[in-house]
Each structure stands twice: as structure tokens, then as C-alpha cells.
């Protein structure tokens, strides 16, 4: 499988972006991210992480401001949200279903791309298994392979490591790194501070929101302000915590 096509790599720019649902508002946000960059979004439950991802994906309209984002956007749902008994190969090939408006199913090329994506993530052996019989960690890797097969220039991952064991969480994190290495822009909403710390930039959904390089922005004080209480541990914070 080759990397992302050069003409699909694009900046994501948000100016005064306000997102929300019902009475809920988040923003204004300023974002400027080149392709291949990875952004972690941190915020307490209900801070609007999922709403922000849906808006960046183009599923929910922005309430105010401007947004230009790479397309297609691929959505990686949190573990456990997608349930289906399709064979893994078919599940991954569904990433390419939007490409051909009238073909009834995945073409030979789509299936080959699906197998290549699975192979690159080291889960080629799962290709014939039903998706719903895999472990949560295996399912996440399969869905990341679908993202790669889709050719998503913007990958939006919603709590990609929630409920995963440490080994699978590390594999998922490495797989997302690989997507960014191919030129995709990766946005990860998470509560996993260690995962956030290894991304290029971090967006804290405080009021007002703050963005910056992970090493600078992840401090015990900033996280205490974000979550409204001091944290006993601060994995990934640039210095010892106490």
C-alpha cells in the first residue's frame, strides 16, 4: 500500500470555529495543522470532543467561523461502537465503498487494497474472520486498516484506546502514527494522557481552548485546570509531578 496521494494532503485551518449541539457551545477555536501532523484533543466528559470531531469530519455543520479540512475524512469510532459480523476483509473494503457510485460491492482492487492495509498493520491473518468475533483491540486495528484503505486525508479517532489493554493500546497508537507518516492529518480525542503526550500537538478544551506542542502544554497545572481537580498522576507531563 502506498502513502496518501500528494494532491489529497492538505492543511486544516479553523478560524473562530464554534461547534455545538443543542444549547452546547465550544469555541472559538483556532487551528492550523499541516498534513502529517497529529493532534490530541483533551477535555473532561461532556467538553465537546465528539462534537468537535463530528464537525471536523463534516457530519455536523459548524455554528460559526470557517473551517477548511482535508477530505475525505475518515472516522474511527470508539471501541465497541461498531458491531457487525462481516468478514474482516469486507469490513476494511467498505472503506472504499464511496468511490464507485453504482458497483454493488467491493471490486477486486478494493479487496486487494483491504488486504494490503491489514498486512501493513500486522493483522493480515484476521482477513477471513468475522469482525464481531475479534477482541476490542483487534477490531480497532481492523478499523484503522479501513481508514487506510479509505485513503482518509483527515483521520478523526474518538477515544481510540479506551477499554484496550496496554499492548493493544500501544499497537493502536503506533498504527495512528503510521497513518500520519503517510501524510494523513490525525486528530485523536482521548482521555489517555500517555497517548496525548506522544502526539505533535495538544488541544485542551478549556475556556478559552488552548493549543500547543505536547511537551509544553501538558503540565500538571494545565491538566488540573482542564479537569477541575488536581491529578494524582500525570503521565506524559514534561516533568515529575507531585
Amino acid at each position: 500500500m502506498s502513502g496518501l496521494r500528494a494532491d489529497m494532503r492538505a492543511h486544516m485551518r479553523a478560524r473562530g470555529l464554534v461547534v455545538g449541539r443543542g444549547a452546547f457551545r465550544l469555541g472559538p477555536l483556532e487551528l492550523d495543522l499541516p498534513p502529517g501532523r497529529r493532534l490530541a484533543v483533551l477535555g473532561p466528559n461532556g467538553a465537546g470532543k465528539s462534537t468537535l470531531l463530528r464537525t471536523l469530519a463534516g457530519l455536523t455543520p459548524a455554528l460559526d467561523g470557517t473551517l477548511s479540512a482535508p477530505r475525505p475524512a475518515a472516522l474511527l469510532p470508539p471501541p465497541g461502537e461498531v458491531e457487525a459480523a462481516f468478514p474482516v476483509r469486507h469490513m476494511v473494503a467498505l472503506g472504499r465503498i464511496g468511490r464507485s457510485p453504482f458497483a454493488p460491492g467491493p471490486s477486486r482492487a478494493d479487496l486487494a487494497a483491504a488486504e494490503a492495509a491489514l498486512d501493513r498493520l500486522g493483522v493480515a491473518d484476521l482477513a477471513d474472520r468475522p469482525f464481531d468475533r475479534l477482541s476490542s483491540g483487534q477490531r480497532q486495528l481492523v478499523l484503522i486498516a479501513r481508514t487506510a484503505a479509505q485513503g482518509g486525508a483527515l483521520v478523526l479517532a474518538d477515544e481510540p484506546t479506551a477499554t484496550l489493554d496496554p499492548v493493544h493500546a500501544a499497537r493502536v497508537a503506533a498504527a495512528l502514527d503510521a497513518l500520519a507518516g503517510e501524510g494523513a492529518l490525525v486528530v485523536i480525542a482521548t482521555h489517555d494522557l500517555a497517548l496525548a503526550a506522544r502526539q505533535d500537538a495538544v488541544l485542551l478544551l478549556t475556556d478559552p481552548p488552548r493549543t500547543g506542542p505536547a511537551g509544553q502544554i501538558l503540565t500538571p497545572a494545565a491538566l488540573a485546570a482542564l479537569y477541575g481537580a488536581p491529578l494524582a498522576v500525570c503521565p506524559g507531563c514534561g516533568r515529575p509531578h507531585g
Binding site: P104, G105, P130, Q150
Partner: protein
């Protein structure tokens, strides 16, 4: 290559089974014939026994095939879209609407063919009403809105039907209505069965073309939209197509339950979840079950047992057995 072959073999076997069952249904009975005589009769030649058997049995056999396949297609589609194994063609209120339409036409004193037309229109009308009402509900889970609107529309149609039952003449109209509510494959004419076949084939063509898009829709609306599909439009198209198929077949057979629920489950065990394989397999198994039930209905004496009763008697325990074995297979 072997994967493709493995996918085709069960479908081919099911097609053979349906063909065999249909031939058997045409041959067996008070006027036994041979396949060769039937073929000759179909070509307009052959002996008079075969010609008579063909003209008497062909409408019922065609009705069974079309009704079984149509209900199973609609059931498989709805089960995928609702991500719910208990979804059946009745879900959109279509069957109740068709029953109300048939009852009103009967009370209005319309001819039998008009009664079937009214049943079709009643099914389409209540399906449209359900889809429109669900579209008007803007908040919450769209699938839940559809299910609730289907229940509401079904209840309205059932009330209309109840009124019709009260108003019906107990000696002339009520027996016809009762027959319709219990289902039969032997009442439709060949022309009516052919019309239903045409509508069901059109619906099958639409659903098979949707193909893997149905699989993507089964993952949920957000997922389907993120995969680049116009999810709402496609879902509406699939639902309307399922409603069309249900209306078309219910209008020639009356209410026949369980096939639309059971056949897709059995098909899923044989070919898996993927729509491109599940839909044709469901249709074939639905046709096979309907042919068997149609034979059983005539097997016990001169009076035909209503097929709706038989499908419930056979279908309910079969479904339970399938469900238990499936649950055991997937802990």
C-alpha cells in the same frame, strides 16, 4: 478463487432446491404429471391432464415463490438497516395497512382484483406514512423513531381493519376477509402473481445494486456518511423498496408472517452477513419455505389450511430452535 466458489455453492444449491420444490409442487396432486409433460404443456402442447395441472397449479406455485422471496428480501433488508434480528416486514406498518386497504375495498363492494390493488395501495400508503412520520421526528435515534412510527401506523390501520370487521356481512364478506387475514397462496390469478413478480423483481434489483452500501448502512448513519455515502437518501431508498416488495406480495397472499423473519436468519447461518450474498440466499430460502408450506396447506384434505397459520405453527418453533443454536454458536 476458492473463496468465490465457497460463496456461490450454497446459492446454487438453494436455487436447485427451489427449482425442485416448484417442479414437485406443479407435478404432485390429484392430477399427477411428469416434468416432460409439464414442459410440453407450458409450450402449449402436451396432454390435457398436464395442461389442466399447469393452469390450476401454476398461479399458486408462482404466488408461493414470489411471496416467500419478497417477504424474505424485505425482512433481510430491514434486519440489516435496523441492526435488529427481530425486524420483520411488518415493522413499517405495511402489512396492517394492506389489510385495512383490502378490507375497505371489500366493504366498498369492489371486484377481487380491485381488492388486491387496494391492499397494495394500503401497504404503500401506510409505509409512506411511517417513513414520513419518522422523518418528521428530528431528535434521537432515527431507527427508534421508525420503529415507533411503524407501531403507530400499524395500530391505526388495525383500528380501521377492526371497524371493517364489525361492519362486514358475516355470511358474504367476513369469510373473504378472514381468508385474507390468515393468508393463502391459492387465491391470486396468474396475472396478479405475474404483476407481483415484476414488482418484487424490481425491488430485488434495487436492493442488490445497493449491495455493500446496505452493509455500510448497517454500521450506523455516522459511519456510512463518514464512508462517503449519502446515508439518509440510501436508507430511505432501501426502506421504501422493502415496503414496496412487502406491499406487492401481501396484496396477493394476504397476511403471511414468519417467513420474512425466519428465512434471513437461516440464510445468515449459511452465507454470513454480507448483503450481496445474504439477500439472494434469503430470497431463495423464503421461496423454498413458502413452497413447502403451500404443499402442506393442501396436504390434509380438500379444505386448504390458511398458510399464515402454518407459517406461524412451523415458523415460531423453528425460529426458537435457530435462535438457540445460533446463540450457542456465538457465546
Amino acid at each position: 478463487m476458492s473463496r468465490a466458489l465457497k460463496a456461490v455453492v450454497p446459492l446454487f444449491a438453494a436455487l436447485l432446491a427451489v427449482t425442485g420444490l416448484a417442479l414437485g409442487a406443479l407435478m404432485l396432486g390429484p392430477l399427477p404429471t411428469s416434468p416432460a409433460a409439464l414442459l410440453a404443456a407450458a409450450a402449449g402442447a402436451g396432454d390435457s391432464t398436464a395442461q389442466l395441472a399447469l393452469s390450476l397449479r401454476l398461479p399458486a406455485v408462482l404466488t408461493a415463490v414470489v411471496v416467500g422471496a419478497g417477504l424474505a428480501l424485505a425482512g433481510a433488508t430491514l434486519q440489516a438497516l435496523f441492526r435488529n434480528p427481530l425486524a420483520s416486514p411488518d415493522l413499517l406498518g405495511v402489512s396492517s395497512g394492506a389489510a385495512a386497504g383490502a378490507a375497505l375495498a371489500l366493504l366498498a363492494g369492489l371486484a377481487p382484483w380491485a381488492m388486491q390493488g387496494a391492499a397494495f395501495l394500503g401497504g404503500i400508503a401506510s409505509g409512506t406514512l411511517t417513513l414520513a412520520a419518522a422523518a418528521a421526528v428530528r431528535s434521537g435515534d432515527p431507527r427508534l423513531a421508525l420503529i415507533l412510527c411503524g407501531v403507530v401506523v400499524g395500530a391505526l390501520a388495525a383500528a380501521l381493519l377492526g371497524l371493517a370487521l364489525l361492519a362486514a356481512d358475516p355470511y358474504t364478506e367476513l369469510p373473504t376477509l378472514t381468508w385474507w387475514l390468515l393468508g393463502a397462496f391459492s387465491r391470486a390469478t396468474l396475472a396478479e402473481a405475474v404483476v407481483a413478480l415484476g414488482l418484487t423483481s424490481a425491488a430485488a434489483a434495487v436492493l442488490l445494486t445497493l449491495g455493500a452500501r446496505l452493509d455500510a448502512l448497517a454500521l450506523g448513519e455516522d459511519q456510512a456518511r463518514a464512508l462517503g455515502l449519502p446515508a439518509r437518501t440510501l436508507r430511505l431508498l432501501a426502506l421504501a423498496t422493502a415496503a414496496l416488495a412487502t406491499s406487492a406480495v401481501v396484496s396477493i397472499s394476504g397476511l403471511v408472517g414468519w417467513i420474512g423473519l425466519l428465512a434471513p436468519h437461516a440464510a445468515r447461518l449459511l452465507v454470513g452477513e454480507t448483503a450481496a450474498r445474504l439477500l439472494p440466499m434469503s430470497a431463495l430460502l423464503g421461496a423454498a419455505v413458502a413452497l413447502i408450506v403451500g404443499q402442506l396447506a393442501r396436504a390434509f384434505g380438500p379444505a386448504e389450511i390458511p398458510v399464515g397459520l402454518l407459517t406461524a405453527l412451523v415458523g415460531a418453533p423453528a425460529f426458537l430452535a435457530l435462535f438457540i443454536s445460533r446463540a450457542g454458536r456465538r457465546p
